[in-house]
Symmetry: C2
Subunit: 271 residues, 2 copies
């Protein structure tokens, strides 16, 4: 018996979700993955809710046609404003999203304490993290900060640059002033800034990497639903597909920085 | 006789082209303008050529249905990679683009000298400025530099911020080392950085603002083609329409910063 070998569907507005794929590969090496990145229409973080919902529905329908056994919303913007659209169309297969995973990890660590959340303007303005955290622990205090420059800084590759350090100091100042005990990295680009953010925030602050917490939640959910690959399967049987709506400049370079390994062949669909 | 009162069509991938509208309002106060910003799909600067051509054609067809008398490509990315698409569909009305305007101004000033050009990665990688400059003056030397962080820094409103200054110093260093006499601001967002860039580059360097040069070229072209509003018309008869594909967060605030005045009512079309 080798369990359910259908792939996990992971999707994002662009390439940031590859940090979630990387965490899944490490946590669930036997599982196959289909990644979908809507690179022709990225970034979603500055678009309206109606537009984001429309795009999300299109992607979910596409992944369901690839016969995925689970959907992972690896985009904080889509998870913040269109999570219901995903569940409504998923036809009963498990749905996991980065905000739920981050909120659960934050509450488990903070235990009624003070939690910081950073993300894109749309994610932060949606208040989705605060709502999900409060649904789990009404006594938690949440302090949020939008960091619109972090995504372009990561994509520029300035992961350890004075400009990025100054920007982080400015963005984190109000959150750190609230004496938070943990900080949720509420954008899939931010795990690449972890070393710099740790420097700026200090060792005492616990950074919650929602790529890692999403992979943990996916592992638990697959087990619970009896959908995991099991038995005699080795990681050599796991397959990875990367599908995008556009192959922009520097895609390979940036993508491999996120994934931490070679991307192999990239498939393109034209919408 | 009041000339041709049909509007000028100005288009961009987002809101940056409003700096061109602003320059047109100042240079041609009697002319009506229809502005189209493809805010649902911005930024174009990271997309492939095929995608940009497809989007450009859609916008041109839309503006022609608004009965414009002239088309202004107020987006360096579209001008760099899709200028031929615009001319092919324009049905004989005059077409002006920011790259042509910037190249002409640079050559007029530089007179066989050394010219710097800054822009988004797609604009710079397309080599469009160098090609257009060389077509006008084969002896000119062109030194180009992509500045991917300038657009997000302008949209964050950090127009006079230490982070922006450090970023500008890093981006301009190689161009300034070539001892250029003028610097073309090859992106419609960059006019907002003019004071800071002048500080970083020094007073001796001539900054070429392609919004201003585009308005000059439009004025000359309207006169030449006999299409200008003339005679007893006053500026009170000029109308302005702003049409976008999405109304994102902070659109009004950022748009008015670009335009230098109130935006009034914004129309949205759903593609």
């Amino acid at each position: 018996m080798s369990g359910d070998r259908r792939p996990i569907g992971v999707f994002d507005s662009g390439i940031g979700g590859l940090t979630v794929v990387r965490a899944l590969m490490e946590r669930l090496p036997l599982e196959s993955i289909v990644y979908f990145g809507d690179t022709a229409r990225v970034p979603y973080g500055v678009k309206s809710v109606a537009t984001i919902e429309h795009f999300t529905a299109q992607i979910v329908d596409f992944l369901l046609r690839q016969e995925v056994k689970m959907l992972i919303v690896a985009c904080n913007t889509m998870a913040a404003v269109a999570a219901k659209v995903v569940v409504a169309r998923a036809g009963g297969i498990p749905v996991i999203d980065v905000i739920e995973a981050g909120a659960r990890a934050a509450v488990a660590i903070a235990a009624g304490g003070r939690i910081g959340v950073i993300g894109t303007p749309t994610t932060i303005n949606s208040n989705a993290y605060a709502r999900r955290i409060h649904a789990l622990d009404a006594s938690a205090r949440v302090y949020s900060q939008a960091c619109p420059l972090f995504v372009p800084l990561v994509e520029e590759g300035w992961l350890d640059h004075e400009v990025t350090r100054l920007t982080a100091q400015e963005y984190l100042r109000p959150v750190l002033a609230e004496d938070v005990g943990s900080l949720v990295l509420g954008c899939t680009h931010y795990p690449l800034l972890k070393p710099l953010l740790r420097d700026v925030a200090g060792e005492k602050l616990k950074l919650i990497d929602s790529a890692v917490t999403t992979a943990e939640l996916a592992a638990a959910s697959l087990q619970q639903a009896g959908l995991a690959v099991t038995g005699g399967e080795g990681p050599e049987n796991a397959t990875y597909r990367y599908i995008v709506t556009d192959v922009p400049l520097r895609f390979q370079t940036i993508g491999e920085r996120f994934l931490g390994r070679s991307l192999g062949r990239i498939e393109r669909v034209d919408w």
